[in-house]
């Protein structure tokens, strides 16, 4: 068995290696975007089953954002919702034989965590300005600045590690069990992997929202309040 931690380039685009995770991500993107385009064409006030499911997803994401931020969900919906949707589909792509989920390679969770890290900075600056955002690092007092900077990095890093660890552990387990008893036995583990994938997608999206909200609130806080 090849180690899931090792990945070979599918092909080279000049000097650039194109890894399987990138190709699978492109496939996921194609499926999601094409599905979205098809759905958009059929949107109506009297919804079809697919539209009802899509509206349920949008409503749930909006509800979670409202529950975490207490604010209108529009500014965060696309980013947080897309993170959830992509991670969910990427995790569940392990059910397709021969496909390794992109989230089982270190680059994809790292890229996602990097996006969250950058989005925290983006939303924080957009809400409170650069001064407000930087002032947030001095809360509750300037002594905490190094720790706050470290925390902002480590929490994104922890998201990366958590997602990667959970998904790759599932892939490991299924691969090991599959190598021992390839028929039927891995199925319960695959079902468990589905649950783990959904939970990890939810956790990643919610934590992203929590961290963004924290930055936004700290950036918007006035000095005397702090």
């Amino acid at each position: 068995m090849d180690s899931p931690l090792q990945s070979e380039a599918l092909f080279m685009a000049g000097p650039v290696p194109i890894m399987p995770a990138v190709v699978v991500t492109w496939a996921i993107m194609a499926v999601l975007v094409l599905g979205a385009i098809l759905l958009k064409r059929r949107l109506a006030l009297a919804p079809s089953k697919a539209q009802a499911a899509a509206e349920l997803l949008v409503g749930t994401v909006d509800g979670q954002i409202r529950a975490v931020t207490g604010a209108a969900p529009e500014p965060y919906r696309a980013f947080v919702g897309t993170l959830f949707l992509y991670i969910l589909v990427a995790n569940w792509s392990s059910l397709i034989p021969g496909v390794t989920p992109p989230t089982a390679t270190m680059e994809t969770p790292a890229a996602l965590a990097a996006m969250v890290f950058l989005s925290i900075i983006f939303f924080g600056i957009r809400k409170g300005g650069l001064r407000g955002f930087l002032r947030g690092f001095a809360l509750p007092n300037p002594v905490m600045i190094p720790l706050n900077i470290l925390e902002s990095v480590t929490r994104s890093f922890s998201m990366f590690v958590r997602l990667f660890g959970n998904v790759v552990s599932g892939v490991f387990v299924i691969a090991i069990v599959g190598s021992l008893a390839a028929l039927v036995v891995p199925i319960p583990l695959m079902v468990l992997d589905l649950l783990t994938g959904a939970v990890q997608a939810y956790i990643f999206a919610i934590l992203s929202m929590v961290f963004i909200t924290s930055a936004v609130e700290k950036g918007a806080a006035k000095p005397e309040e702090s």
Binding site: S7, M19, T25, L32, A44, L45, V58, T108, A114
Partner: protein
């Protein structure tokens, strides 16, 4: 374990691109559809609320109209009842008056009929009395009857006042008898009259069977009735006066 920065970059770009694409083709349109439906539902609810308010207003209006109708009906009933009562009273009064009039007219008619009947009966009785008297007289002795009536004529003349006697003396009185009198009888009558008046009087004689029996003296100023017919007429007049007194008393 390897970590490829190219892949990291690709995946970061892929995620950003996916965020943008899904924002454009999924999140925004679906959220807009939800908002449109919510707005549509809100509009429908507002419309329904407006319709409900309108219906409640119409219901209240109908209730008011119904209450007004009830009041109007009661008023109309009361007015109609009053009018009917007035009409009934008027009809009753009119009927009572008419009945009273009819009753009065009937009473008058009855009285008139009774009077007419009485008069007719009286006339019949007079005629019967005359017939009976005539038949009775026919059975009596004519001479005795004549003598009796001549005696009564003399008594009547004797009872006249002096002024009546003087007027008779200056006139030519007419002696009316039931049967024609011959010359001797006329002389005897003239003698009795002269004796009763105390002076001779020129008389004329005429016969009238209607007297039945007896003698009457007629002059321009004095009339002396002394006959069965006059007696019967007097009796009839007395009875009529008595009946009139009884009727007036009733």
């Amino acid at each position: 374990m390897s970590f490829d920065l190219w892949t990291l970059g690709f995946q970061a770009i892929n995620v950003l691109l996916l965020v943008w694409l899904l924002h454009r083709f999924f999140w925004k349109p679906v959220a807009a559809t939800i908002a449109a439906r919510q707005a549509d539902v809100a509009t429908l609810l507002q419309g329904a609320e407006a319709k409900r308010s309108e219906a409640e207003g119409a219901l209240a209006e109908i209730e008011a109209i119904r209450a007004g109708l009830a009041a109007e009906r009661d008023a109309l009933l009361a007015e109609t009842r009053k009018e009917a009562e007035a009409a009934r009273s008027a009809v009753m009064a009119s009927a009572r008056a008419e009945a009273e009039t009819l009753k009065s007219a009937a009473r008058v008619d009855r009285m008139q009929a009774a009077e007419a009947l009485k008069a007719s009966a009286r006339q019949d009785a007079e005629r019967l009395a005359l017939v009976i008297a005539g038949q009775l007289v026919a059975r009596l002795d004519a001479a005795s009857t004549d003598a009796a009536f001549l005696g009564w004529l003399a008594e009547g003349l004797t009872g006249l006042s002096d002024a009546d006697r003087r007027s008779l003396a200056g006139a030519t009185p007419e002696i009316v008898s039931a049967t024609p009198k011959d010359g001797a009888a006329q002389e005897g009558i003239a003698k009795i009259v002269a004796t009763a008046l105390g002076q001779p009087v020129t008389l004329t004689f005429r016969a009238d069977p209607a007297l039945i029996a007896g003698y009457e003296l007629h002059s321009p100023h004095v009339t002396l009735r002394n006959s069965w017919a006059a007696d019967l007429a007097r009796i009839a007049a007395s009875l009529a006066a008595s009946d009139a007194a009884v009727s007036d008393a009733a």
